[in-house]
């Protein structure tokens, strides 16, 4: 801690629910450093057996797309249905695809 009197930085929390799945964003915690952030994430988001692995990343380190660019970035994909694998039947027993 720096003792500057400022709030602790914000950390984004990612939880892997089980082996084989990707880490998913679940929320954020405040913490003075990465080690404590991991412990806060553990205590805040995995108290009910939600995970087997945790990542934390400083929120300030995440680069985000600009909301005003939404059309330019995402609209062109709207009419390209052939990019979706909708022409296959997925077996009922396959989950998490």
């Amino acid at each position: 801690m720096t003792g500057s009197g400022k709030d602790w930085p914000l950390w984004e929390v990612f939880v892997r629910a089980r082996g084989g799945l990707s880490h998913r964003h679940v929320g954020s915690v405040h913490a003075p450093d990465a080690d404590i952030a991991l412990r806060h994430a553990r205590d805040t988001y995995t108290r009910r057996m939600e995970g087997v692995s945790l990542w934390v990343a400083k929120s300030a380190d995440i680069a985000a797309s600009d909301p005003t660019d939404t059309d330019a970035l995402f609209a062109p994909a709207e009419d390209k249905v052939y990019r979706h694998p909708t022409f296959y039947t997925i077996p009922a027993s396959v989950k998490n695809i």
């Binding site: 801690m1 003792g3 915690v29 913490a31 450093d33 404590i36 412990r39 806060h40 205590d43 805040t44």
Partner: protein, 250 residues
């Protein structure tokens, strides 16, 4: 003459119960929401341990009392917890000093108790030791950050440990009752845990830029029911509701 195993199980349960209650007092008052959750989690782990121990104690006693009866309808004199766990929370530094001392000792105790010839005690300890390793780890992280933090946090950590040094010896005291149970392979020989405790504590204190312990004359008596004034106040809060409404269900 009470059953020594009942008394021993009560000691284990009361340590967890009283510290769980103390940590619960932080709920809604911790420095941040995240720390609030950390402390409440440890508190709930400890209350869970206490439930297992007191349920077993009630079965051993076989006198019609259950775990709740033992927790909420005993007076201070009948509690068998060590004095360390009943100490007031003080500031966050003092709470973390107490947690480190208790959890380091409880980790070693439960690792050994998991090999007890008493299957119930061994089972409770084997399950709880995973929780306790985390408690000790979290407390160590905070002691290191506060000890090696600002001048104020360093001084508060110093004061936190100063308050608690006199209660450490009791964690490792053996009396006739525990020595007898230890000979049967039921209880843990606490004196054998001390070197590992001292070594682990020294390493953490060094990393936290805090001095080695300067132990004053020990204060003991908790195992015989000789408690400080603080326990009565704690029990008044903890027991008020079940004593006022003995048949209440929720």
């Amino acid at each position: 003459m009470t059953d020594p195993l009942f008394d021993y199980t009560l000691r284990l349960g009361d340590d967890a119960l009283i510290l769980g209650q103390r940590l619960g007092e932080w709920c809604g008052h911790a420095p941040t929401l995240e720390v609030d959750l950390s402390l409440s989690n440890i508190a709930l782990d400890l209350v869970g341990q206490a439930t297992h121990f007191l349920e077993y104690a009630a079965e051993l006693e076989d006198a019609g009392r259950d775990a709740d009866r033992l927790a909420f309808h005993r007076d201070a004199l009948a509690f068998r917890n060590c004095l360390l766990v009943e100490q007031p929370n003080g500031d966050f530094g003092r709470t973390m000093a107490r947690q480190l001392l208790f959890s380091l000792h409880q980790k070693l105790l439960f690792e050994a108790l998991a090999g007890s010839t008493d299957e119930r005690l061994a089972g409770i300890a084997a399950k709880a030791v995973k929780e306790v390793r985390y408690h000790a780890d979290l407390a160590a992280e905070w002691v290191i950050r506060l000890g090696d933090g600002t001048e104020e946090s360093h001084n508060r950590m110093l004061e936190g440990f100063e308050w608690h040094w006199r209660f450490v010896q009791e964690l490792f005291d053996m009396d006739e009752l525990e020595a007898g149970l230890a000979r049967e392979g039921i209880a843990v020989d606490r004196t054998a845990l001390r070197p590992a405790f001292d070594a682990a504590l020294s390493a953490i204190l060094a990393e936290a830029c805090l001095p080695e312990p300067d132990y004053p004359r020990p204060v003991t008596g908790g195992r015989k029911g000789h408690h400080g004034e603080h326990l009565g106040h704690l029990l008044a809060v903890m027991q008020h509701l079940p004593r006022s409404y003995p048949d209440a269900r929720w």
